[in-house]
Amino acid sequence: MLVECLVREGVDCLFGYPGGVTIPFYDVLYDHPLRHVLVRHEENAAFAAEGYARATGKVGVCCATSGPGATNLTTGLVDAMMDSIPVVAITGQVTSKLIGSDAFQEADTFGITRPCTKHNYLVKRLEDLAQTIHEAFYVAGSGRPGPVLVDVTKDVLQAQGHYQQVTAIHLPGYRVFTEGHTGQVRRAAQLVQEAQRPLVYGGGGIIAAGTAKELREFVELADLPAVLTLMGLGGLASEHPNFISMPGMHGSYAANMALTNCDLLIALGVRFDDRVTGRLAAFAPHAKVIHVDIDPAEIGKNRAPDVPIVGDVKRVLVKLNKLLAESGNAPDETLRAARRAWWHRIRQWKQEHPFDVVTSDTEIKPQHLMAEIDRISGGQAIVASDVGQHQMWAAQLVRFNEPRLWLSSGGLGSMGFGIPAAIGAQFARPDKLVFAIVGDGGFQMSIPELSTIASNGLPIKIVVMNNGHLGMVRQWQTLFYNNRLSAVELDGFPDVEKLAAAYGFKGRIIDKPWELAPALEEAVAEPGPYLLNVKVTPFECVYPMVPAGSGLEEMVLGPPQPVAVPAK
């Protein structure tokens, strides 16, 4: 019955790991066409489901057994929660009679996952199963998307029953606001027309709402400069002339200066995250704020907006565009001059301090690596990143000309995300070139999944940016802790040629800058998986950097004077 529900929800692929209580479910899968991908750790099942969802916008599905299976899922669930990714997780639970008896592999999954999910369920009766599964998919995918977990007891999984068509969903406490208040939208349109220094600040909501087209129309109609957060990259093509770049802690000088100096901030599907805003009091201090979000709780959470609009970004943008296109208000000459001056300043900031592609003749610089990946991708490849320095450099330097190409753990920042997310994405988009850009730390958290990649023949190109350290922590220790490098050295990294060979695919180690381009081209030309270990300079830091707790204007643009290491 469970499988029937999944098929009716349009699920074509799920990621999971079986166990004692889920055997009845797997017994049905044995001769069912529904594709199950066996991962090597449940956490990666959740990440892969996220990768699938992030690459398509459809609900990703993962499943695990009771007890340890379910607890292993939690990191992926919280990750999906923080980034608003629609995922349905199905877990097995011990037989309902045994619940509460500390049975073998029993854990309070319902209780444990309450704060990890948008909503969760425990199903103890077969007659509730279909209703619950359909509700779970509806809740996960609607409104502000998120993960939903359904815990199903073994007796329910084992029971035989005929699928009864579910005709209605009964969720009296669940409301989704999509339309956006017309009066507020009109006020917003007016502000957009009157602003001298407007700026669009778009985030993950652009991707979730599938509104890249409307966003492009919007910035073109009113000729607005736009910054996109880490979660929003691809929402407006990186090559679009109105796109500035990513703002925030490691955002560009131009993006952060534009935020600090704008007089109107048009916030679309963003949550004013601390990694973007820096010190809130210094964030866009001169700006009026229009905030559009589907989640009413986000509006006014960190910054009180002047024009709050609760609604689906897509529908609001459609309305806004219509208003802007219809109003014949030609801006007067003063306003046009102010807008021209504003664009001029932005272009100047961009010129003064662009993201630097640092290269060297003797060593591979991490920025050089990202620039080469960018050249090969041409803004078209799917890039799943892990978390850390490589993530920031990739976000800065790799172009994304469409939404759903950049898959990155933004809110939670889960290491070990990159490779399983790439697996999910490659299953979702078999036609696409998929890179997994990971650090040497995160890679070692995901090594088990090399087996999943090998056994499914997934042509993922894994690029390890290997600096021999947990680079981001090392950077903070260097900059803020007197260069006392504590527990960040990762020696004992495996030989990837042998490692890849052990799994039956190709791998290569490179450390010379002239090898970089040919090696990447070889990797992409390879029909199967490829593991590339790129040894980069170990002590590079990501710049610009806004130190935690500082205002965006106080960003550090380059390396400080060397800090002496105190004698031990």
Binding site: A168, G173, A297
Partner: protein, 178 residues
């Protein structure tokens, strides 16, 4: 400051946990919480008093409204509402103060529910602040033990009378699925 929230929620397993979990997760401290069924057995009414700074008050309500089992969260702090609490006091005092204690209890509208040679058990209802005074007064006469119910509140301003909570009619599945 103290904020009084009235919640209407589905009477389902885990619903209470979602509310209390949300409060602790977001760092709000619960002063009191009461919950019981409404006329509709599928719904419960909960009154929560939380200690939050005034900036966060809206945020608490919004987060509560996001919970899928919560039908409605209302802030009753500044709107016209009746807030009442029940207190049970056991008092042990010298024989000579018995009459005085009874007099005091009467002033606060208290009712003796048990009497023994050692003392009384008194119940009183009222405004939480008044009950605090009542407890102080009782304390001045002897040794006391106190149980408070936590605040119960009912809004007086609601546009619709919430005695019979409106349960939205079931929506056709097709309307949910795009």
């Amino acid at each position: 400051m103290l904020q009084v929230i009235s919640l209407l929620l589905e009477n389902k397993p885990g619903a209470l946990m979602r509310v209390t979990g949300l409060l602790s997760q977001r760092g709000y401290n619960i002063e009191s919480l009461t919950v019981a069924r409404t006329l509709d057995p599928e719904l419960s009414r909960m009154t929560i008093v939380v200690d939050v700074d005034s900036v966060q008050r809206q945020q608490v309500i919004k987060q509560m409204n996001k919970l899928i089992n919560v039908l409605q969260a209302t802030d009753l702090t500044d709107s016209p509402a009746v807030v009442r609490e029940l207190v049970l006091v056991r008092i042990r005092m010298p024989q000579e103060s018995r009459t005085a204690v009874l007099k005091e209890a009467e002033i606060f509208g208290g009712r003796v529910v048990d009497s023994s040679t050692e003392g009384f058990a008194i119940e009183a209802t009222g405004d939480p602040e008044k009950l605090g005074e009542f407890i102080d007064v009782m304390n001045s006469y002897g040794e006391i033990e106190v149980t408070r119910s936590g605040a119960l509140a009912i809004g007086l301003e609601a546009k619709k009378l919430r005695l019979q909570p409106p349960v939205p009619t079931k929506t056709k599945m097709e309307e949910f699925v795009d």
